[in-house]
């Protein structure tokens, strides 16, 4: 298949206009001996029909879609209204570049402005950016931001923060002289408040905690923020399951200074991990240190409202090595999907979806802990995910469930060796009562 648009005649005319006889001459500036001089060893070309068949065949080699899955842990299966796919697949949204030329990009710019507003409303903060890559890099950028704002060298990271987010923070700070110290969790699955108090000192730039945390337990963000503020450190809240914001109090209202995380839940398919949608919001006074693109409202020469990318003096193309972040491309199309999703559900629909998640998870907890030997691991309040403990290693329970076509939960042992007998179970609005009951019966056999 070819996507070229020149006929032979066009090509000849153009070569003549350029004043050369063949396209080879166009590459005269490349030394002969460095050129490839052979065809690339690649398959194809494939006609569209062949390509479709080949990709469908690759897809079929995924057995996952045939399983009943209760996996969560940073990537969530939620209902996506048809309007999201339908509207976001318009070429006018899919195929433009970053909106540098504002006059011909008002669509994208207004969408970003609406997205920023929705993020502010959900997080309870003043300012939001146009998006970041995904949740883990968002968390890392938030740590760097807290470091820049306070000039302090140490960050306290909750052990209940998504393990992959913790790893990415470690990767990002390694060469910048910032030290990360882990805050342990208590028996209730929440950040251990007395351990945190013991770790706080005047070298701490920020305290970064996730809520609901990786175990699905809702943290006491108010107390955590107060602990951070007591030493003039910043409180950074991570939200990896953004749908929780439809029901739980906004982190900004509870004292968080920066809220960052993942909005994949808002209209983005699981897609094996990406593209997803990182976001970041902060208090007004920190705007000059916020990373990423930001859209702002202004007027044109005739006084009409319009939108532009703004505050570019924070960014790499102006500030080069002094920029707040190296980020350039973000996730505009994903932010568009989230915007359509949120505006379609609206004020009541979002709350209802979040509430149904809470109810279904509560029902699942009741059904599953009724199985002899299965118990709730952490007493802290949970929303749509929770950790169960089994009478034997999870790997064995998991294997028995898979025999029945069920993925009952996410193994925790890798990141939490102390939780060998446990798994993280996620129940969203997409799970029917029958699905939950089926898991209950299968679990009964698996543990007996």
């Amino acid at each position: 298949m070819s996507y070229l648009s020149l006929s032979d005649k066009d090509r000849k005319e153009m070569l003549a206009a350029v004043g050369i006889g063949s396209t080879d001459e166009l590459f005269g500036c490349i030394p002969e001996d460095v050129r490839l001089g052979r065809d690339l060893a690649l398959p194809g070309p494939a006609a569209e029909l062949e390509l479709v068949r080949e990709l469908e065949a690759i897809g079929k080699r995924n057995a996952y879609p045939r399983f009943l899955s209760f996996l969560g842990g940073g990537a969530y299966d939620h209902f996506i209204p048809t309007v999201v796919d339908s509207l976001s697949s318009r070429g006018e949204f899919v195929s433009p570049y970053t909106p540098y030329q504002a006059e011909v990009s008002q669509g994208t710019l207004q969408v970003i402005f609406e997205f920023q507003t929705l993020v502010c409303q959900l997080t309870g903060l003043d300012i939001a950016n146009a998006s970041l890559y995904e949740g883990a890099t968002g968390a890392a950028e938030a740590v760097l931001m807290a470091h820049r704002l306070t000039g302090r060298p140490k960050v306290l990271v909750a052990r209940t923060l998504h393990p992959q987010y913790r790893e990415v923070i470690r990767t990002y700070i390694r060469n910048l002289g910032v030290q990360a110290v882990e805050i342990p969790y208590g028996n209730d699955g929440r950040v251990d408040a007395s351990a945190l108090a013991g770790l706080m000192d005047d070298t701490v730039c920020g305290v970064i905690c996730q809520s609901p945390n990786f175990f699905g337990v809702i943290e006491d963000l108010k107390a955590l923020s107060e602990a951070a503020h007591g030493r003039k450190a910043l409180s950074v809240a991570v939200v990896a399951e953004a749908l929780s914001l439809g029901l739980l109090e906004a982190p900004g209202t509870l004292g968080a200074d920066i809220v960052t995380g993942e909005m994949q839940s808002f209209g983005l398919p699981l897609s094996f991990g990406g593209p997803y949608l990182g976001f970041m919001a902060c208090r007004k006074e920190y705007v000059r240190q916020l990373p990423g693109r930001i859209a702002g409202q202004t007027t044109d020469v005739e006084g009409r409202r319009g939108f532009v990318l703004t505050l570019a003096t924070r960014e790499q193309h102006i500030r080069r090595e002094k920029a707040t972040s190296n980020i350039c491309t973000n996730q505009a199309l994903c932010a568009l999907r989230a915007t359509i999703f949120l505006e379609s559900l609206g004020r009541r629909g979002l709350r209802d979806m979040a509430w149904q998640n809470a109810q279904k998870a509560a029902y699942a907890m009741e059904v599953l802990t009724a199985v002899p030997g299965v118990r709730r691991k952490f007493g802290g309040p949970h929303w749509n995910e929770f950790v169960l403990e089994f009478p034997k290693p999870w790997a064995r329970v998991d294997a028995a469930l898979r025999e029945k076509g069920i993925l009952g939960g996410l193994a925790l042992e890798g990141a939490f060796p102390e939780l060998r007998n446990s798994a993280l179970v996620c129940v969203t609005e997409l799970k029917r009562k029958d699905d939950i009951d089926l898991l209950g019966r299968a679990l009964q056999e698996a543990v007996s």
């Binding site: 298949m1 070819s2 996507y3 006929s7 396209t23 500036c29 490349i30 460095v34 490839l36 060893a41 494939a46 569209e48 080699r61 842990g73 940073g74 990537a75 299966d77 309007v83 697949s89 318009r90 006018e92 949204f93 899919v94 433009p96 006059e103 011909v104 008002q106 402005f113 959900l122 995904e134 890099t137 470690r170 390694r174 439809g246 029901l247 993942e262 699981l270 094996f272 991990g273 593209p275 705007v287 202004t298 703004t310 193309h317 500030r319 190296n326 980020i327 350039c328 491309t329 996730q331 199309l333 949120l342 505006e343 379609s344 609206g346 979002l350 149904q356 109810q359 009741e366 993925l407």
Partner: protein
């Protein structure tokens, strides 16, 4: 098209009680007292409430206010705005891909892992590198990953070193990425041809320099023909060469960075391999390395044994994770589809036709616009507004006037070494007719600059909004809608 679309913000359209999407009623027995121990929100103040027809019209109207590659030429230099094949959108959305959870056990996602492994292999072949990671989410993320790999490799040899050399023509992300890796940036001046000055490289390349970051073709669209000598100088003093692959579209199937002395590079799948830009992402910025740097790639890497694929985390020398999960998978699917569609000859055609189109534009416009650097162009050419300045017309005015002719402007004011730059990259997918439309418009604008400069200075005239006040936007930022009263 309709001349006037005044679309309010969704918040201004909102009225209590409306809702576009509903869930079915709860089908499990309601548990009383759920979440009584935590603070819940009673409402989300100002959150929109609209019907589905309103949502549809809102976004359709907004879409009409965007220019896009599906509508016409989008010759943004350095951005490689080529056509985005429709079938790739369909295939990336196949339920077997779209519904797969990133934490699914390896044996249940063999198709996904195979697909990732195949693209790694294709990119290695195209770039002449030995291994690729598909983890980075965008070009700048790839640069950061690549520079972290360089730092880790040098640390492993005993000394990470202090400096990174970057030409003055480089993208702003280069110095920014190097800085986040803990390096101090030293700028190398370009020579009179706009290329790396080998003599100054020789001087600057001392034992405390970790790497040279180079873009080839550079941001002037000129091939750095001394690249191998430059690489040899860097290597002789124990440094490594990083290549920003943003301009890979000029090279595919012709010459491979790995054969030019490059040790680490990134490729933008959203440029060279046609995945859509989406109005600013999502992208994907895979990083390729030579064999001796493979151990430092981020985790996870994809292993293959006897046709079984797995994610491998046990990599003691790895720089660690650079993001969650497995890269921007749906973007990666599109790039794989593109390569499979084109095949080896088609991949070579990308470079041939991209370079032909750029040279055709250059030749057609070189009487009308000033060309500061005259070395031969590859996939893009960089003019300036020097001729038009005489009439008080700047590159901004030229760009805005192009909009009146139904075209997207080129990249402006970059690279920084060309004052008043107009950086034009047509890509290989443009037809001669559309190239001629662009050329004719540019010629007309050159004439208008002489005859009626005010027409340009007040452009654009035909858009829904006209020139916007960016200074005011930055001075008193309004970054969100707020409920009145």
């Amino acid at each position: 098209m309709i001349k006037e679309i005044r679309e309010p913000l969704i918040f201004e359209l909102s009225a209590p009680g409306k809702q576009a999407s509903h869930l079915p009623p709860l089908d499990v027995p309601e548990t009383k007292g759920v979440l009584t121990a935590v603070p819940l929100r009673q409402d989300i103040d100002g959150f929109p409430e609209v019907s589905e027809p309103e949502v549809t019209r809102h976004f359709t109207r907004l879409s009409q206010k965007n220019y896009c590659i599906d509508l016409g030429p989008y010759p943004l230099g350095s951005c490689t705005m080529k056509y985005n094949p429709k079938v790739n959108e369909r295939l990336a959305a196949l339920p077997e891909f779209a519904a797969s959870h990133p934490e699914a056990p390896d044996e249940l996602v063999q198709g996904n892992l195979e697909l990732l492994k195949r693209l790694e292999g294709f990119l290695s072949e195209i770039a002449g590198m030995d291994a690729f990671t598909l983890q980075p989410a965008a070009g700048a993320h790839g640069e950061l990953t690549g520079m972290m790999i360089i730092r880790a490799a040098l640390e492993d040899r005993g000394d990470p070193r202090k400096y990174v050399l970057i030409p003055d023509s480089a993208h702003g992300t280069n110095p920014s990425s190097a800085h986040i890796c803990g390096y101090t940036v030293k700028e190398i001046k370009s020579n009179e041809d706009g290329m790396i000055d080998v003599a100054s490289l020789e001087r600057e390349m001392t034992g405390d320099v970790a790497a040279l970051m180079v873009t080839n073709p550079n941001t002037l669209g000129v091939f750095e023909s001394d690249i191998r000598r430059a690489a040899a100088i860097v290597h002789a003093r124990g440094g490594l060469v990083y290549m920003d692959g943003a301009n890979m579209n000029a090279l595919t199937g012709i010459v491979r960075p790995g054969d030019m002395g490059v040790d680490v590079m990134h490729i933008n799948l959203h440029k060279t391999f046609s995945t859509p830009h989406g109005g600013g992402g999502p992208g994907s910025g895979p990083v390729g390395v030579k064999r001796e740097l493979e151990a430092f790639l981020p985790v996870p890497v994809i292993g293959e044994k006897g046709g079984r694929y797995s994610l491998i985390f046990d990599r003691p020398k790895s720089i660690g994770r650079v993001r969650s999960f497995n890269g921007n998978f749906a973007v990666i699917v599109r790039a794989l589809c593109y390569i499979l569609s084109l095949g080896p000859r088609g991949i070579r055609d990308i470079a041939e036709y991209a370079v032909l189109n750029a040279n055709y534009i250059r030749k057609s416009l070189e009487q009308d616009y000033h060309l500061k650097y005259t070395a031969s162009s590859m996939h893009e050419c960089v003019f300036s507004d020097k001729f038009q300045k005489e009439f008080g017309v700047t590159n901004l005015d030229i760009a805005k006037r192009l909009i009146d002719y139904g075209l997207h402007p080129p990249t402006m004011s970059f690279p920084l070494i060309v004052h008043g730059a107009l950086m034009i990259e047509p890509t290989e997918t443009e037809s001669k007719r559309d190239l001629d439309l662009f050329i004719d418009a540019m010629k007309t604008i050159a004439r208008e600059a002489r005859e009626n400069p005010d027409l340009l200075k007040s452009a654009p005239h035909v858009t829904y909004v006209r020139r916007l006040d960016e200074v005011a936007a930055a001075k008193t930022p309004v970054l969100r809608w707020e409920k009145k009263g």
